[in-house]
């Protein structure tokens, strides 16, 4: 208890009400503490949404300016890898929701099991993403480090209706790939942070934390994990699915 609380609240008044020991002194009830924690997490997530939206706005403008370059750039990505990663991430969101539910039901083993599945799926996502990045490096699609426009100035046999790009528009595929690497890279960074936090939470849950009724931490981590999933839900169609019919 901090000194101010001692000074302002007489001991006999405090002793008058019962509450679980995890309720901090400045909250009246456990429910109020829980809602405050969720509210604070949402304020943080809103700032994260604004952060990613700056990139989405840049994407929107450049896609309108250099549309042919964006179409050809998008055709270089592996659609099966993107779809598989979307499935992996949606599965991990579901398992995370089940982990929060298990914490709510105070089932320690179930909580650990769902968290472990979430962790494996999260790492699986990063592996597939890493494979894709490696593939794009091999094909000289990394602007600034390893880029060549030759893939865009002749007709791709997989997309025979694509016209070869003029040299100036072919240069603009760098804009597409810059946005692609920035957005998927920042998303992957959020995944890595999430995985590190998840491992720490599993360590704590192993010792019996979060299944004693106090589960704000797990619940807020769940919110973060679902937020990362939502970012990918937008990244996938915008980066992988531009005009696949051509």
């Amino acid at each position: 208890m901090d000194s101010q609380a001692i000074a302002t609240i007489p001991e006999q008044e405090h002793a008058g009400h019962e509450h679980p020991e995890y309720v901090r002194h400045h909250f009246a009830t456990a429910a109020q503490q829980r809602e405050t924690a969720n509210f604070g997490m949402w304020l943080f997530l809103l700032t994260e949404i604004m952060f990613f939206s700056g990139l989405f706005a840049a994407y929107l403008i450049y896609r309108n300016w250099y549309y042919p370059a964006f179409v050809t750039g998008s055709h270089q990505l592996k659609i099966w890898a993107g779809t598989l990663n979307t499935l992996v991430l949606i599965c991990s969101s579901f398992t995370m929701a089940m982990a929060v539910y298990s914490a709510e039901m105070r089932k320690r083993k179930a909580l650990l099991r769902w968290m472990a599945i979430t962790l494996i799926l999260g790492m699986g996502f990063l592996c597939i993403k890493g494979y894709e990045w490696h593939d794009e490096w091999e094909h000289h699609h990394v602007p600034g480090l390893n880029f060549s426009t030759t893939a865009f100035t002749h007709v791709d046999p997989r997309y025979p209706m694509d016209k070869p790009l003029a040299p100036d528009m072919a240069e603009k595929t760098q804009t597409y790939f810059s946005l692609y690497f920035t957005m998927t890279g920042l998303h992957a960074f959020h995944m890595i942070v999430g995985i590190c936090v998840l491992i720490f939470l599993m360590y704590k849950a192993w010792g019996g934390a979060y299944t004693n009724g106090h589960m704000n931490t797990v619940e807020n981590f769940g919110l973060y994990w679902h937020f990362v999933d939502i970012v990918w839900i937008f990244l996938f169609p915008l980066l992988y699915l531009i005009s696949r019919h051509q």
Partner: protein
């Protein structure tokens, strides 16, 4: 001491999570499927509409907003409203500067 605003906490049953999970998988298949059809401008509209539906499902059920207090609901709505205003203002600026590029 006055009581804080009362909000009953709902435990979302796994059945709801499983249903939402199934719908999300269906929409993922649908968005890939739809991208192979020539719909002109509507390809982007369909892709974004599906993404928005998926995001709203995740927010409402996985993130429990459907069962949250009014304060939380209002705050999140205000956040998204601000985001739309910012995007619209940016686009208005770009569209009105570069005539012919759109």
């Amino acid at each position: 001491m006055s009581e804080p605003t009362h909000h009953t906490h709902t435990v979302v049953p796994p059945r709801v999570y499983a249903t939402v999970f199934g719908i999300l998988l269906c929409f993922t298949a649908l968005t890939v499927f739809a991208s192979y059809f020539e719909l002109g401008t509507f390809n982007a509209v369909v892709a974004l509409a599906i993404a928005v539906i998926k995001a709203v499902l995740v927010i409402l059920f996985f993130m429990h907003i459907r069962y949250s207090s009014r304060l939380t609901k209002l705050t999140i709505s205000a956040g998204f409203f601000t985001l739309i205003v910012l995007l619209l203002m940016t686009m208005t600026d770009y569209i009105s500067r570069a005539w012919g590029m759109w």
